[in-house]
């Protein structure tokens, strides 16, 4: 929706998905550095110097946070509170409203668990 640059969250700022891997984040960071570096031709005629510096600072900040798994998890949780995230492939999470991916039990042994539930031993 309509947002000021200052209000863009780190993922929007770097134009990556919230599920992006470390490599994707690094690549997006490099791309953002090229876009907002001093004298970047991509800003010519549209974005002023002060504005550019501001966005670049935020880009650094975003990368510093997202590259550290601990910091990223804290940030994700804080973000989730006021901007819930519903990945297109898992619409059922809509009802949960919290980070499920890391809390969910591992998929290993799913079959055995199901069998234990379904097939009761006499």
């Amino acid at each position: 929706m309509l947002k000021r640059i200052e209000d863009w969250n780190y993922y929007e700022l770097l134009a990556v998905e919230r599920t992006a891997s470390q490599d994707e984040i690094w690549a997006a960071y490099q791309a953002a550095l090229t876009t907002y570096k001093d004298g970047s031709p991509a800003l010519y005629g549209l974005v002023g110097e002060a504005e550019r510096a501001l966005v670049l600072d935020r880009v650094h900040e975003a990368f510093q946070t997202l590259r550290d798994p601990e910091k990223r998890k804290d940030y994700d949780l804080a973000l989730l509170r006021h901007a819930p995230y519903f990945p297109a492939k898992a619409p059922f999470r809509r009802s949960v409203g919290r980070l499920e991916i890391e809390d969910a039990p591992p998929k290993k042994g799913l079959r055995a668990r199901l069998r234990r539930l379904l097939v009761r031993k006499p």
Binding site: L2, R4, A15, P41, A42, L46
Partner: protein, 312 residues
């Protein structure tokens, strides 16, 4: 019929709009798809020269002056199979200042004509005629080159498109007094478009939502032409990103066409570069771009059905 109208436009002259239009047309025609190229560069038409054809009648001017009954009959065959062209008019002074009703007639005929692919080659600049042709296409493709002048004019062109879209919707919904307010505010600074919407949302949320949706429905594509290295290719990506953040539009970067000295020499021999140098990197890039465009259905389907042009 799955009909596509593509418009090739941009803010600066000499970026290669006609080159891209001609090459895309030749490529699609070689894939057995019937293509109609329309030289809608009203001020300085030269698309036929890029295809190695000399100017002759009938042309777009004959259609606009009712010398021929329909756009269909103004189209002439080219030496290439499946490819036809409506040449630009030589009667420049008359046609460059096309009036509103003639423009509507042309837009209507473009919609009605039974050709699967129409490629409009637009002129430079941001005159209302050019903008309306660009906005009627789905999608419109902006061609830029990696120079500050071209980048600056690309943003100007996009801004003009945005203002035009908003103006059309304002007229449609009879929101008259907003237009001047928008002009005053958007001139101010880079985040002005955001500011305009913000204040509009506060004062009138319903209109704000309508106009914001209209803006999000405008989804142009970008092609970088004459790129010389990786940096130039990445510049296109940066421009799309900046447009997304500051102009609030979703622009798709289709790719880059590398600089090729042979383009000029082909032009001197009056032979299409795309046919003469099929295996060059530039020709390969054009094929890639055509593919991106052809598969951009998902991207373009989200646009609103059609802007109905208000009466003058």
């Amino acid at each position: 019929m799955d009909k596509r109208i593509w418009a090739i436009g941009g803010g600066k002259g000499g970026t290669g709009k006609s080159f891209v239009a001609a090459s895309l047309g030749l490529h699609l025609a070689s894939l057995d798809r019937r293509v109609l190229l329309v030289d809608a560069d009203l001020g300085a038409p030269n698309l036929h020269t890029l295809l190695g054809i000399r100017a002759s009648h009938p042309d777009l001017g004959d259609f606009l002056t009712n010398a021929v009954p329909s756009l269909e009959s103004a189209a002439v065959e080219t030496p290439y199979r499946n490819l036809r062209i409506v040449k630009g008019s030589e009667n420049i002074l008359f046609i460059a200042n096309l009036n509103h009703y003639r423009k509507l007639r042309l837009l209507r005929q473009l919609r009605q004509i039974e050709v699967p692919t129409i490629i409009l080659d637009l002129g430079t600049g941001s005159s209302f005629n050019t903008l309306d042709f660009f906005l009627s296409a789905n999608p419109g493709v902006v061609v830029a080159t990696p120079e500050p002048t071209a980048v600056e004019n690309t943003y100007l062109f996009l801004k003009s498109c945005i203002m035009r879209v908003l103006k059309l919707y304002m007229d449609h919904y009879k929101i008259r007094d907003l237009h001047q307010k928008m002009l005053d505010q958007i001139e101010k600074n880079s985040q002005s478009l955001y500011g305009f919407f913000k204040s509009l949302m506060e004062s009138d949320r319903a209109y704000g939502t309508i106009l914001y949706r209209a803006l999000r429905g405008f989804r142009p594509c970008l092609v970088m032409n004459k790129t010389r290295d990786e940096r130039d290719v990445l510049l296109g990506r940066s421009i799309a990103d900046v447009a997304r953040k500051y102009l609030l539009i979703d622009m798709k970067y289709l790719g880059a066409v590398p600089y090729d000295e042979d383009v000029t020499s082909s032009l001197r021999d009056l032979k299409p570069f795309f046919v003469e140098h099929r295996d060059s990197a530039a020709a390969r890039a054009v094929r890639q771009i055509a593919e991106e465009l052809a598969y951009s259905i998902e991207f373009t389907l989200r646009t609103p059905p059609e802007i109905s042009l208000p009466d003058a």
